[in-house]
C-alpha cells in the first residue's frame, strides 16, 4: 500500500474529490496547510505599508491506496488540480507498512 499526499490549491479540492470517486477512492483526509514555493504571495496592505504574505493557503490531501492504483490516482489528481499556473502543488508518494481500520480492526488491503 502507498500513501499519496498531495498539496493543491484550495479551490481545487472539490474537483479533485470528484475526479477520484469514479476510480474507486472512497476515503481521504484533508488539512489546511500553507505553502512556500515559487509562487509569489499576495500582497496585504496595512495602513499604506505592504506585506508580502509568503505562505500561501493550500490544501493537503492524504489518501491510502493499493499499489496498483497509484498511477491512476496521480493522474486523476494532476488533471483535476492543474491550472498550468505556478503554485499548482506537488504529489508525494510513500510506502505504508500497514494500515488498520479502527472500527473493525481490519488490516491492510481490507482496511483500504
Amino acid at each position: 500500500m502507498k500513501l499519496i499526499m498531495a498539496v493543491i490549491k484550495p479551490f481545487k479540492l472539490e474537483e479533485v474529490k470528484a475526479s477520484l470517486v469514479p476510480i474507486g477512492i472512497e476515503g481521504m483526509t484533508i488539512s489546511e496547510v500553507k505553502g512556500f514555493g515559487r509562487q509569489k504571495g499576495q500582497m496585504e496592505i496595512y495602513r499604506g505599508a505592504e506585506y508580502e504574505v509568503s505562505f500561501l493557503p493550500k490544501v493537503k490531501i492524504e489518501i491510502s491506496v493499493a499499489d496498483e492504483v497509484v498511477d491512476s490516482v496521480i493522474e486523476a489528481i494532476r488533471n483535476a488540480a492543474g491550472t498550468g499556473k505556478i503554485g499548482d502543488g506537488k504529489i508525494f508518494v510513500y510506502s505504508l507498512d500497514s494500515l488498520v481500520r479502527i472500527r473493525t480492526g481490519e488490516k491492510n488491503r481490507e482496511a483500504l
Binding site: E44, I45, Y46, R47, G48, A49, E50, Y51, V53
Partner: protein, 442 residues
C-alpha cells in the same frame, strides 16, 4: 519639530512653571471651588446628556477595544481589550476620588493652572447641584468618560510589549499629571480657555494629548520585536470595523454632547461630525487607491476616525461646508501621518496614535481657527477676518504638545527605572494574552 517648539522661548516660562506645578502637585492646598449655579434642570437636556455620557463610554468599551484589538496579531488581542477595560475601571475611580475636583472646581490663586480639592471623593457633589440645565452629577459622569478614553487611546502606541502593571501605573499617573491639568486649562477655568483657545469637544485636551503621549511612549519603549520583518497585519478587521462604528456613533455623544444640551448647537455639531467623518473616509480611500491601487477596509475606517478627530475641536463652531473641508484635509493628513511620517522617522507607533489622533487633532485645532463662523459658535475664524484665532489655536497646540511630551517622558522613564516597562522577550513572542493573562482566543 520639537526643536522649533522649544525655540519659542515665549512659552518656556509657562512650561517650567507647569513642571514645577506637576511636582508640587501632591501638596497643593487649594481654596474654595467655584459654585455652580443651581438653575432649573431640563429633562430634555438631561436626557441627551445621560445618553451622550453612555455614548462616550461606548467609544472606549467596546469601541476602542475592538478598533485596536482587531488590528493586532491574534496573540495580543485580549491584552488590548484588557487595557481598555481596566483603564475604564481605574480612571472612573480616580476621577471620582480626585480628578473631577482638580479639573473642574476653582483652584483659587492657582486657578489658571489647576482646580481645587473641594470635591474630592465627590463629597460636595449633592444630588441637587446643577451645571447649566443638567444635574452636576451628569456633567461629572460625562467628563469622566472623556478622562477614560484619552489614556485608552494611548494604548495603540505601546501595544504588544508593555507590562500590565506598568500600564496601569502609567495611566493612573498620566491622568492626574497630564490629562487633569490640561483639561483644567482649556475647560475648567484655566489659562488656555481664558486666552480664547477654541476646543469644542476635546481636539486638544483629548486627541493631541493622547497622540503626543503615544508618540513619546512609542519612542521610549522601542519597536515591537520583529517590526518591519514579520507580518504584523491585523488579525481580524471585522472587529476593527465594529469598533470604528461605535467610535463614530459614540462620537455624536462626544461632539453633540459637548453642547451640554439638546439644542440647536448640538444639532449642528452632529451634522458637522457626520460630514467630516464621511468626507475623511472617502479622501483616505481615494488617496490610498491612487497610491496603492487598492482601497482597504483599514484605510477607510482610519480615515473616518481621522475626520472625527479633526472635527472634534470644531464641531460647534463650523458649518457643513467647513466640516466637509476639514474632513477632506484630515483624511489626507492622517494618511500621511500613518504612512509617510511614521516610516520616515522609523518609530513604531503601532496603531498610529500619533499619526491619526496627533496629526488629526492638530489639523482640526488649526482649521477650527480658520473655519469658525460667528453665527454658529459665537467666534469668527480666519475666513471671517479673525486672523488672530489661528494663532490662539497654535498657542493651545504648542503648549499642550510640549507639556504633554515632557511629563509623559518623565513618567515613563521613572516607571522604567522602578518597575520596568517592557515584558521580556519570551512573553512578547508568546503573545501577551497567554503570558500576561493566561488566556487566549480560539
Amino acid at each position: 519639530m520639537l526643536k522649533i517648539y522649544l525655540q519659542n522661548k515665549i512659552y518656556l516660562r509657562k512650561i517650567s512653571c507647569l513642571s514645577a506645578l506637576c511636582i508640587t502637585f501632591a501638596i497643593l492646598l487649594l481654596g474654595p471651588s467655584r459654585v455652580m449655579a443651581g438653575t432649573e434642570i431640563s429633562p430634555g437636556d438631561t436626557s441627551w446628556m445621560l445618553t451622550s455620557t453612555l455614548l462616550v463610554l461606548l467609544m472606549t468599551i467596546p469601541g476602542l477595544a475592538l478598533f485596536y484589538g482587531g488590528m493586532v496579531r491574534k496573540k495580543n488581542v485580549l491584552s488590548l481589550v484588557m487595557q481598555c477595560f481596566s483603564i475604564t475601571c481605574l480612571v472612573s475611580v480616580l476621577w471620582m476620588v480626585a480628578g473631577y475636583s482638580l479639573a473642574f472646581t476653582d483652584g483659587g490663586s492657582l486657578n489658571s493652572y489647576i482646580g481645587g480639592m473641594n470635591k474630592l471623593f465627590l463629597n460636595n457633589l449633592t444630588i441637587d447641584s446643577a451645571n447649566g440645565s443638567i444635574p452636576e452629577t451628569t456633567f461629572m459622569t460625562f467628563q469622566m468618560t472623556f478622562a477614560i478614553i484619552t489614556p485608552a487611546l494611548i494604548c495603540g502606541a505601546f501595544t504588544d510589549r508593555l507590562k500590565f502593571g506598568a500600564m496601569l501605573l502609567f495611566v493612573g499617573i498620566w491622568v492626574m499629571l497630564v490629562y487633569v491639568p490640561v483639561t483644567h486649562w482649556v475647560w475648567g477655568g484655566g489659562f488656555l480657555g481664558n486666552d480664547g483657545v477654541l476646543d469644542f469637544a476635546g481636539g486638544t485636551v483629548v486627541h493631541i494629548n493622547a497622540g503626543v503621549a503615544g508618540l513619546i511612549a512609542a519612542i521610549v519603549l522601542g519597536r515591537r520585536k520583529g517590526y518591519g520583518v514579520e507580518n504584523m497585519a491585523p488579525h481580524n478587521l471585522v472587529l476593527s470595523v465594529i469598533g470604528a462604528s461605535f467610535l463614530w456613533v459614540g462620537w455624536f455623544g462626544f461632539n453633540a454632547g459637548s453642547a451640554l444640551a439638546a439644542n440647536k448647537s448640538a444639532g449642528m455639531a452632529m451634522v458637522a461630525t457626520q460630514i467630516s467623518a464621511a468626507a475623511a473616509g472617502l479622501s483616505w480611500l481615494l488617496i490610498e487607491t491612487i497610491k496603492r491601487g487598492k482601497p482597504s477596509v483599514l484605510g477607510i475606517i482610519s480615515g473616518a476616525i481621522g475626520g472625527l478627530v479633526a472635527i472634534t475641536p470644531a464641531a460647534g463652531f463650523v458649518d457643513p461646508t467647513g466640516a466637509l473641508l476639514i474632513g477632506v484635509v484630515s483624511g489626507i493628513g492622517c494618511y500621511w501621518g500613518a504612512t509617510g511620517l511614521k516610516h520616515y522617522f522609523g518609530y513604531d507607533d503601532s496603531l498610529d496614535v500619533f499619526g491619526v489622533h496627533g496629526v488629526g487633532g492638530i489639523i482640526g485645532a488649526i482649521l477650527t481657527g480658520v473655519f469658525a463662523i460667528e453665527t454658529i459658535g459665537g467666534t469668527p475664524g480666519m475666513l471671517e477676518g479673525n486672523f488672530g484665532q489661528v494663532f490662539i489655536q497654535l498657542e493651545g497646540i504648542f503648549i499642550t504638545v510640549i507639556y504633554c511630551a515632557t511629563v509623559t517622558f518623565l513618567i515613563l522613564k521613572i516607571i522604567d527605572i522602578t518597575t520596568g516597562l517592557r515584558v521580556d522577550e519570551d512573553s512578547e513572542i508568546t503573545g501577551l494574552d497567554l503570558s500576561l493573562h493566561g488566556e487566549s482566543i480560539q
